[in-house]
Subunit: 424 residues, 2 copies
């Protein structure tokens, strides 16, 4: 397919989606929920088909000698498919945000103004190797009455296509308007470039994947992008911390699942508690297989333990996504706040302290999407927050910040009801 | 100044603003309000200085033979300065949005999650010839604890500089942190290009001015932009309309102030009422100096009246900003909705009808920021909505839609309070 043909094909998809978005915005909750439940059943019934499509993708990737982590993300299991189904069922049970009146008031001239939630319109999801994103995004977009255009990685195309076809068929059977759910199956890289220029038809892009992909999307897009590049999350152990609590939180934030964006990458410790706190903490972390990189004072305190590499400036801005932790001892709460606001990625940061004033200062002064007191950063997650699901996490400040779910897939319009009022 | 020097200078401004934004976000409401009131007094006291600076700008523009409308927008009067002062006083009286708890809930594990309003950070305002924008934006940004970088048109530099200097002095006297309020006084056009690339320091751009400026900003910016290109607003007179009410609303929406974005540009009339409604309506509008461009049926109906030019496809997408109105007769409510969603600019659209069902369909199906029933589109305005002031109007769907004031200058963060919770 040459460039012009590709552009025509993609324009047609985006055009149809924009067209469909007007009708989809009017769809009743009951139909949406019934469709979601039937989608879950259909996936369950067609497990074999999905797994065999996934096998094809995996074979190609193994032949191409793709990295193990990549293969892991691409691999679908029976359990994985069950989880996709559960997620669709969960989404069917959540409140429909569309039509909610956010607020409503009367003006002195009698005009009634209401701020009402409506779908955003057409949402483009660009993702890498995880096929479950296909089902998750179709579910969340349908429930919020948004048309979705999915563009998954070319290495997962068979898996995505199988899941998409199954869900699309259920949608058609339920008379969900044609154009509501779309999969771009061109493996041509130019397809993304073309889509990202359709700012007259597509309202929002959510890229999901590694930092490289997300930067590329952000740089090329003429459509608004909501994203997070990375999660450089901190735990700060204050001079007034309950050190037992701190130990559990630090261990959890680093070790429970180190490869995700809400895992801790840097530990900050107030100098007054460093000697009491750090030696045992470092030992515990090292015993769990964690590499420690510390500031010079950390290294002195830890000198009886196995090698602690000297942390450099680079470590403070590194998202390890792995069992590696950088540690810095700070002189004060101020220095901790400065470090986080300077080196962090505005994702999730936690203070461990029993001092209410210090906690309040941390909560106010840390400029991140999620700021914790006495809890693990690992809780930054749509499901953990009680949103039922998650379409992404934002470290941006516009529109949505932190975990994004159904409400974040809506915008609002103003409805103004009068009895003939004119402006004087 | 060469490019490198200019870039250094602008980077320094943006750096300082970002730095200041952390402290400004903590500023108490009382200090902000006192400063706003003193700013109003200072402007009043220094009227002469402002008017004489404005005179300098006007002289240059007259020599350059700038268009009359441009000179009008640039011209400051004593009354204009009084209005700037009133606006600052109004803003001082509005509720401070910073720190408001949007919602707050407990999770089964005891975590308390609160969604709290915080300032956006650093806001860049790019505007053209209206010097009052300088004071309005300083006021709104200060009240919402945002640092502001102002870049006005080079033709208004003396006026902007005078207003800025007066307000900046008051800010300094009140210990508002240095870097909170900034004016870029380089007339080099490259300054805008450089600023629009500082997406690591500036959080939001709001361009205010003509469509050309706004498109240029949107195309060049790596920072999120909130904007409206134009206002192609419609009034639809339904078959079930109270035609007396319709007459008043149509006249108001077109004639009361035709040069603004919320004025009507196209009138749609249901065929069943066209013959009863249009002849007198067209006559009234023509008597008020309004040029009419109509579809072929409109022309037939209006044949006894002065020239009605045939409206072409181009007229449906034209923002006249002038005493010109296009009129189209439609067969049904559906056709009216299709016309508006197809040709409109998603700004403000109104239906005149006594039929509740038709009204509800219009409100739901029109995809615009502000949708009216039985009222003039001219009410789309922050002040008219009861927001006290306005920093712009958005036809975008992300973050803010419709009139934008203090709340729209905030984002939120999640505050999560625990007692040692870890993720299992």
């Amino acid at each position: 397919m040459d460039n012009k043909q590709l552009k025509n094909k993609l324009d047609k998809i985006a055009d149809l989606a924009k067209e469909a978005s007007f009708k989809l915005s009017l769809l009743d909750t009951r139909t949406k929920n019934a469709t979601l439940r039937q989608m879950a059943s259909a996936l369950k019934k067609e497990k074999r088909r999905i797994l065999s499509a996934n096998k094809k993708d995996l074979e190609v990737c193994r032949r191409k000698k793709m990295p193990k982590a990549f293969i892991d993300r691409l691999t679908l299991t029976e359990k994985g498919i069950d989880e996709m189904c559960d997620s669709l069922i969960q989404v069917s049970k959540l409140d429909d945000p569309v039509g909610n009146i956010i607020k409503s008031w009367y003006r002195p001239n009698g005009l009634k103004i209401s701020k009402v939630r409506v779908p955003i319109g057409v949402i483009l999801i660009i993702y890498e190797s995880r096929p479950n994103v296909t089902a998750d995004c179709i579910g969340l977009c349908l429930k919020s009455s948004n048309c979705v255009i999915l563009r998954g990685g070319s290495d997962a195309l068979n898996s995505n296509r199988a899941i998409f076809d199954i869900l699309k068929k259920v949608a058609s059977k339920n008379k969900i308007i044609e154009g509501s759910i779309n999969l771009v199956d061109s493996i041509d890289h130019k397809a993304v470039d073309i889509l990202l220029k359709s700012d007259d038809l597509i309202d929002l892009v959510i890229p999901r994947g590694g930092e490289g992909l997300i930067r590329e999307v952000k740089n090329k897009s003429r459509i608004p992008v909501i994203k997070h590049y990375k999660g450089i999350c901190h735990v700060y152990v204050d001079s007034e911390a309950d050190l037992n609590m701190a130990r559990k939180i630090v261990f959890n934030a680093k070790v429970q699942r180190p490869g995700v964006c809400n895992a801790m990458e840097t530990l900050l410790v107030h100098k007054n508690v460093a000697i009491r706190f750090l030696p045992r903490m470092i030992k515990e972390l090292q015993e769990a297989g964690c590499e420690i990189r510390g500031c010079s004072i950390t290294r002195k305190i830890a000198k009886n333990f196995r090698n602690v590499r000297l942390a450099t400036e680079k470590d403070w801005v590194m998202e390890y996504l792995n069992l590696i932790l950088s540690i810095r001892i700070v002189d004060s709460l101020d220095k901790a706040i400065d470090h986080i606001n300077c080196y962090g990625s505005r994702h999730s940061d936690s203070i461990v302290t029993d001092d209410r004033k210090n906690a309040q200062r941390f909560l106010k002064e840390i400029d991140s999407a999620c700021v914790f007191v006495n809890a693990s950063t690992r809780f930054t997650d749509g499901y953990q927050f009680g949103m039922g699901a998650e379409i992404g996490i934002s470290t941006d400040k516009l529109h949505a910040r932190g975990p994004m779910a159904l409400e974040e897939l809506t915008t609002y319009k103003y409805i103004i009801e009068g009895r003939g009022q004119i402006r004087l």
